[in-house]
Each structure stands twice: as C-alpha cells, then as structure tokens.
C-alpha cells in the first residue's frame, strides 16, 4: 500500500481545497434557508411560471418551502457539479499524471506489478471521493440541526448516497480513460463531467432525449426524483455500476500492457 499512502499524502492539499469549497458553499445555503423559507411561497409561484427552465433543474417537482426541496436543488447542485468535477479531476489525472510528469519510468522500474499500481491508484480515487462526501455529509447534518430544522435522515442519506455513486461513477470512468492517455488531460475529465451534467438537463426538458438518462449518472442522482420516489432508480444505478466496472476493467487491461512514454 506504499503507492496508495503516497497518493493520499500528495493529494491532501487539493482534497482540502475542493472539500472545503463545496462544504462552505453548502453550509452557506443551509444557513440561508431560514431566511428564504418565508419568501418561498412567492418563489414557488415564480418558478412555476418559468416553464422548462425550472424543469431543467428538477425545480418544477420540488417545493422550495421545505428543507428537502430547498436542499435538493441548492445543495444538490453544489454537490453534483462540484463533486462531479472533483471526481473527474482526480480520476483523469490519477494514471496519466505519472507519464505527464515522466515519473512513470521511476515508479514502474521498481518491482511493483502494474496491476498493483492500478489497484492502489484506483483505491486512492475511491478513497478521496468517499472521504469528500463523508465530510460534506458530516458538515451538513449539524448545520441543519443548528438552524433548528429536523434532519430528514432518509432523504438526506438517499441524496448523498446517490451523489456519492455519481461521483464514483464519473471518477472511475475518468480513471479508466486516464490509462489511455500519455499526457494528462484534465480538460477531457472536466469536459466529460460537464457533458454528463448537461445531458441530464436535456433529459429534464425534452421527452425525446429520455434515452440520455441511461447514460448520465446525474439522472439517478436527481433530487426531485429521489424525494418523490423516496428511492434511487435501481435500473439507472445498476447501469452506472456497469459503466464503472467496464471502464475500470478497460483501464486495468490497458495500463497493464501499455508502453510507457519516455
């Protein structure tokens, strides 16, 4: 586990910045809720008249006057986008950065199996994403209690669980892609996360694009659907798991055989 320890140690600063930024934004939203709650009656009416714009973000199905509705839209977007970009960044750089920085030659000329290198780096991606979500969840719960609201435990667990799955899926897909890159390409990872996010917006506003929900993980992490159904769509989650496994296996196969650039 030497490589895993080193990866975690190396990523501490970046991890702290991302986690701190997302947690900070979410806490601001939570602490703003008591002030906004009273104004939500009018806001709901306003959103109802905004047509497909509200549908795009699932706001047509959520009541802003409730904590879960407010949390689902405001905090969900922070966690979905912020966490999604973080996962993409960590995943896409994990394997390719060694070649970009020319350190792969140093690492792989030690008696370490390549599959062990991939496994330890994979675990590092999973650990970072999981830790980010655990910390943010651990910040959110006391913040909700601090504003005097009852913690909607099941809804919160479902929303955070779905976003954890979403981020793991994006992180693992990017990790798999990373094995094919000789030079790090953060743009590919962040671009992919953005495309998946916008796919879900398209799904929300157009019935003709419904097939996209089988591709983007943002579909099963949609807070409006989770709160309505009080569950995460098993089929979409299963597809996400399938994509994750496929990209992880591809990444393993590629990295264990690839020529390391000088």
């Amino acid at each position: 586990m030497t490589i895993l320890k080193k990866e975690l140690k190396k990523s501490v600063k970046g991890f702290a910045v991302w986690t701190g930024a997302i947690a900070f934004m979410m806490l601001i939203c939570i602490f703003l809720y008591p002030q906004m709650k009273d104004q939500m009656e009018g806001m709901n009416q306003l959103f109802a008249n905004m047509g497909s714009f509200t549908a795009a973000f699932g706001m047509d199905r959520l009541n802003f006057g409730t904590l879960t509705g407010f949390y689902g839209v405001e905090c969900g977007n922070m966690l979905g986008l912020g966490g999604g970009f973080f996962a993409a960044y960590v995943g896409i750089t994990m394997l390719s950065k060694e070649e970009k920085e020319h350190t792969a030659e140093f690492l792989l000329t030690h008696p370490v199996r390549r599959c062990s290198v991939v496994t330890q780096k994979f675990l590092s991606v999973v650990a970072e994403i999981t830790a980010l979500n655990v910390i943010i969840f651990a910040c959110s719960v006391p913040a909700i209690m601090a504003i005097g609201e009852e913690v909607p435990a099941k809804e919160l667990l479902l929303i955070h669980g779905a976003y954890l799955a979403l981020q793991l899926e994006i992180g693992i897909i990017c990790f798999g892609i990373s094995a094919f890159l000789h030079r790090g390409s953060i743009g590919i990872g962040l671009g992919l996360a953005a495309v998946l996010y916008f796919m879900n917006i398209i799904v929300n506003i157009s019935d003709k694009a419904e097939f996209l929900k089988y591709i983007t993980p943002f579909a099963y992490a949609e807070p409006a659907s989770i709160i309505e159904e009080m569950s995460v769509d098993g089929l979409l989650l299963g597809l996400g798991l399938l994509y994750s496994v496929a990209f992880a296996v591809l990444g393993y196969l590629k990295y264990c055989r690839k020529d390391i650039a000088a």
Binding site: I3, K6, F106, D259
Partner: protein, 290 residues
C-alpha cells in the same frame, strides 16, 4: 551465466524503428558498455529490458528470467534513466525512502553512505535540484539496495568530472563485489576506461560486440600516408582526414591489396596502427551514410 541476453529483439513504434533484431549478451560480473549516438536505439533496448515497453518481436532475458517476469528480476536490478524525473513535491530523503519502500527493503544506512559519497543534500526538495543533483538522486535510488545488475542509461550526463570519477569508483567497487554493470553512453572514453566489454549499436542493431581490446583490434586499421594527399583510388577508406602532405583513413579489407596500391604511389612514410575505440565507433557510423 548470461545476465542479459536478447535474441532478435525488435521494437517498432508504429512504423518507426526503435531496435531491430538486436542480439546482445552480457555475462555475469562484466562491466559492459553500450555505445551509440542519439536515436540509435540504446534507450529503447534498455527500456524494453526494464519492462517499460513491450517488444514487437524477439526474446530477451534478464538475470535468467524472461521479460514477462520483469517484476521478479527488477528486485535485483538498479536502473538509472537518462533523464531522471522524480516527484517534485518530495524531499530527496522522502524519495529515496519511497524507492526503498517500493522494493520492500530498508537500505537507509547504504543510502546515507551513498549520499555522503555523492555529496547529496537530502533535505532539499526535488524541484529545487540541479540536473546533476537529480542524477545523484537517481544513482542513490539505483544503488541503495545493492542489486546484482546495474542498468544505466547515459549515467554521467549532468555530473561534473569529479562526480563522474566518484560514480565510476562506486560502480567498479560493486562490480568487484560480483555485480554486473551495463551502461549506455556516447562518451567513448568512459567506456574505454571502465568497461571490460562493449557493443556498438547502429540503426537499432548491434554492429560490433566484444572486449574493448577486441574492438580496438578489429580488422579496421588506421592508415597514415605521408607524401600523398588522397587515398589510393582502389582503396575503400573511411574517416578520411587530409593534411598538407599526408592523408589518414580507416581501412578494413585485404592488407595485401592495400600494400599493392601503396607501392605505386609516391609514399614517403606509412603508419598502420590499431585505431582508438572512438575511431572504431566512427568507422561503424560512417557506414551509415554510405
């Protein structure tokens, strides 16, 4: 025992040649020089042996194990790449320790000794080091676990002459203790001074291999003629250097033919000698342009 053995080892990067039908044998305990200019295939051959790139065809073994088992033989190999790149955010001592941990061994006392010999400050961050000091870090990482085989790709580039001398002293010490040293270079003098055997690589293939004495005493001769300015018409000479009243060239062929051709020329004096290794090297390389 052959510590390194390649049979028709070939590596193409797409259509670009890396090495082609490379046949090389390095025996246990040898101090072996691998000579060739940039682009000849030295690094490709070494990177293939280190398991960084897969050969297109052919076979190779290191310490008796095939390339497929490189993770096993890498335990006993110390490798120094031509351009040492490390994790910039680490300190020197952290990197050396990380290298040892990746090998699953504690070699801190040997690492300290090597750092002292090479005058390496272990408290500095990698990104603050000069090229030469980075090279020293690479040397410590390659030597601290006392491997059986040292594979080094242009190890002295970036080192000052005093450090080069110290580096070769350390390597010779290891060789005397039974280790094998295989290093590539295009500095011919360091090969001639340190190696017991050498191979010359040209366009991805070995064009000459043998002891330094054998290579220097190859059939090519350095011929210096006084009294003429050009080489005889019927003589196939290379590395031709013309002076005011003399001409010097490398000749590889029938010596009787040379003497017969010379007999018809107004030659005042003749000097025929074994060339320096550098001349042999140039001899093989000038064939490239023909």
């Amino acid at each position: 025992m052959n510590v390194i053995e390649t049979k028709n080892l070939t590596k193409f990067y797409g259509k670009t040649r890396g090495i082609k039908n490379l046949n090389l044998t390095v025996k246990e305990g040898e101090f072996f020089g691998f000579i060739g200019p940039n682009g000849a295939g030295k690094s490709t051959a070494i990177r293939t042996l280190m398991g960084l790139i897969a050969p297109t065809s052919g076979e190779a073994s290191v310490l008796g194990l095939p390339l497929g088992q490189c993770r096993e033989y890498l335990r006993d190999v110390g490798y120094l790449p031509s351009e040492a790149a490390f994790y910039n955010d680490m300190k020197v001592r952290e990197l050396i320790s990380y290298s040892a941990k990746l090998r699953g061994v504690d070699c801190s006392s040997e690492a300290d000794r090597l750092c002292s010999c090479l005058e390496l400050d272990t408290s500095k961050r990698i990104d603050s080091l000069s090229l030469g000091n980075r090279k020293k870090v690479g040397i410590v990482c390659a030597m601290q676990h006392r491997p059986k085989l040292y594979i080094m790709d242009e190890p002295t580039s970036g080192l000052d002459p005093l450090m080069q001398k110290e580096f070769f002293r350390l390597l010779r010490q290891r060789q005397q203790e039974g280790a094998t040293v295989f290093f590539s270079s295009h500095v011919l003098s360091e090969v001639q001074h340190n190696c017991t055997r050498a191979a010359i690589i040209r366009e991805g293939s070995i064009v000459a291999e043998g002891s330094i004495d054998e290579l220097s005493g190859t059939s090519a001769k350095r011929v210096v003629l006084h009294g003429v300015k050009e080489i005889p018409a019927g003589i196939d000479g290379r590395s031709v250097v013309s002076g005011d009243d003399s001409v010097s060239f490398l000749y590889q062929g029938d010596i009787k033919l040379l003497l017969r051709e010379l007999s018809s020329l107004p030659v005042k004096d003749v000097n025929i000698s074994d060339p320096e290794l550098e001349e042999i090297f140039m001899h093989y390389y000038q064939q490239e342009g023909r």
